[in-house]
């Protein structure tokens, strides 16, 4: 176990090293702190002096080491936009994104497993075909478009009356085709304070309502992906010899599906899930932009649009750290579920 952890830790450090090099190169080449500090009017000689004083003329390696030392203390300088330490800015925006990701993950896990398993067990059933059809359409709709459609349908509302409204059935059908609107689709409402910079949407009904549309949008592309993956893996596992043997042993079908088959199905799903966490965070940028959800993604886009290099660098480092931590956790979970992963090595 310890060897496994050390190996994972080493890998994580390596990845963080690569990310920090990239982040540092960005800062080194794009961010000119002098420009930001003193403006245009200061003469070149004074700039040069300041540059020397800040160590910006030092060799690359010296500068990188300084960057790394500061990074280890989560010190990435000041944001141009907010005029405060970038780490504080990012940490203030972190909870909103994490809560959105948590709500989305919950949706994905709760829906993809039962639907995927069902459509693998009954591949010919009408409902399975329906799920498969919906999921390929779902994969084809970009997240931001889903978000826009949801806003149109449930925040703005749609009134459509192709049927004569003066008859009973006509207005009933029109009612079916129209939607009410009124769902909140802007920001996160009045989240409840927990501690520090953490405000939560999970503590009140009002907060949860604000989460609904963004979470559905964010889940809309990942959910079909997982349904299709779980179905495909499960179909393959159900063909295996050990499932046939379990049937020959007289084990109940329910136990065969949900223990024998599902546990094997989940192994590749966990691996893919680890990779998809990155995609999920990338999609938060899109979702948060559409819904003006005050999280890290929206903050990052603003930073890009206003060339706030220190904030961009901080975002990259912190998101990188989150990826590395979650990937390591996913690897650990995989190792716990899969007995063929020796605690010291790779899968057999």
């Amino acid at each position: 176990m310890i060897a496994f952890l050390i190996k994972r830790l080493f890998h994580a450090l390596l990845v963080m090293f690569v990310i920090s090099i990239i982040a540092f190169s960005i800062q080194d080449n794009l961010g000119d702190p002098i420009q930001q500090m003193v403006g245009q009017s200061v003469p070149e000689s004074e700039r040069e002096a300041l540059r020397e004083e800040l160590g910006l003329n030092d060799p690359f390696l010296v500068q990188y080491l300084r960057f790394a030392r500061n990074a280890a203390q989560l010190d990435f300088g000041y944001s141009y936009i907010f005029n405060e330490p970038t780490t504080e800015v990012v940490l203030r925006h972190l909870p909103a994104t994490l809560e959105l990701v948590a709500a989305t993950t919950l949706l994905i896990v709760l829906l993809s497993v039962p639907i995927g398993v069902y459509s693998a067990i009954k591949p010919r059933a009408l409902l399975s075909r329906f799920f498969m059809g919906v999921s390929i359409v779902g994969i084809s709709i970009p997240v931001f478009l889903t978000a826009i459609v949801l806003i149109q349908l449930f925040a703005i509302g749609v009134t459509w009356s192709p049927f004569p409204a003066d008859t009973g059935w006509g207005s009933w059908l029109n009612g079916l085709l129209s939607t009410e609107g009124g769902m909140p689709a802007y920001g996160r409402g009045d989240p409840v304070h927990v501690f520090g910079t953490w405000y939560t949407n999970f503590a009140s009904l009002d907060g949860l309502v604000y989460l609904v549309l963004p979470a559905i949008s964010l889940a809309s592309i990942m959910l079909p992906l997982f349904i299709r993956l779980i179905r495909a893996e499960m179909l393959e596992v159900l063909q295996s010899e050990y499932v046939k043997f379990a049937r020959a042993k007289g084990i109940r079908l329910r136990r065969i599906y949900f223990l024998h088959a599902l546990k094997n199905t989940m192994l590749p799903v966990i691996t893919v899930g680890g990779v998809q966490i990155g995609t999920l965070v990338a999609y938060t940028i899109l979702t948060e932009t559409v819904f003006q959800w005050p999280g890290m993604g929206l903050m990052f886009l603003n930073a890009i649009n206003r060339s706030d290099i220190p904030l961009i660098v901080t975002y990259l480092m912190i998101v990188g750290l989150i990826f590395v931590i979650t990937n390591t956790l996913v690897d650990l979970i995989y190792g716990l579920v899969n007995p063929t992963v020796k605690l010291t090595g790779k899968p057999a």
Binding site: I136, I139, I141, I156, T279, I309
Partner: protein, 318 residues
Amino acid sequence: MSTETSLQPTAALPSRWARFRDSYLLYSFRRDLIAQVSLAVFIAFVACAVLAPWLAPMNPYDLAQIDILASELPPFWIDGSDPAYLLGTDAQGRDLLSTILYGARVSLIIGFGAVALQALLGVVFGLLAGYLGGRIDAFLMRLADIQLSFSTLMVAIVVGALVKAIFGGATFSAYAVPLLVLIIGLAEWPQYARTVRASVLAEKGKEYVDAARTMGLPSRRIMFRHILPNTLSPIFVISTVQVANAIISEAALSFLGLGMPETHPSLGSLIKSGFDYIQSGSWWITLIPGAVLVVLVLVINLLGDWLRDVLNPRLYKG
């Protein structure tokens, strides 16, 4: 059963294998209505995109043709529409049908261009990694792993932001098409590299490669003439999916303001520019290009699904 045999090609008879596979492809295509419809729609898309300058009633790039007074007109089935603008107009008074035709053209060019670039990078790196192994393999695959764990979209956004910061907004807009091809191509090569590497590793163990090596053929020849042809069917399958992904990535970048400028819009930037007007009730400016984008991506995905079922390669997962 016959799909399996088609997957075990004999290297000695590539032409016969190709002919057999083609005939099976054709056979299953004839039986699959969804694939036929998808292909028809896709061809229609490509035709519209190629013929956009002749089909479109207006040239949306030509400022002289734009009538700002005709802005935000609804499509033909809604009261207050102008028959001159079939699908209505956008906020700048451009004919929506024309901008969509031109936009689909831009999206397809970037989609195919980016996939060509990823395929080139991915195939070369994948072949090198799989065939040579050792440190090159470890380095390339670790790089691919890191890039994938960040997700291709994230990489594209970051690279896009950096490219924009380096060149400045104006230059970026002027060279947006090649830059987007570059960005998306660089972001998504790992998919190809991993797939190619996996099939190279599978092929490498087979006897014909041993035989070629014993005969003293140079590595490059073995890689490109012997192994590559046998990894074609997975490459083919992921290519369709990757075109769809590249189109979605381009749309996402444009939506974030890191892609095509509004003066030269793709489907993504049309959706973005229309989004600002959705609250004022002009939903068509954003939702009609959105629907077009979805149909385009959907038919490509459906074709990809059908191809995967027919060719049935073991794709690298993850």
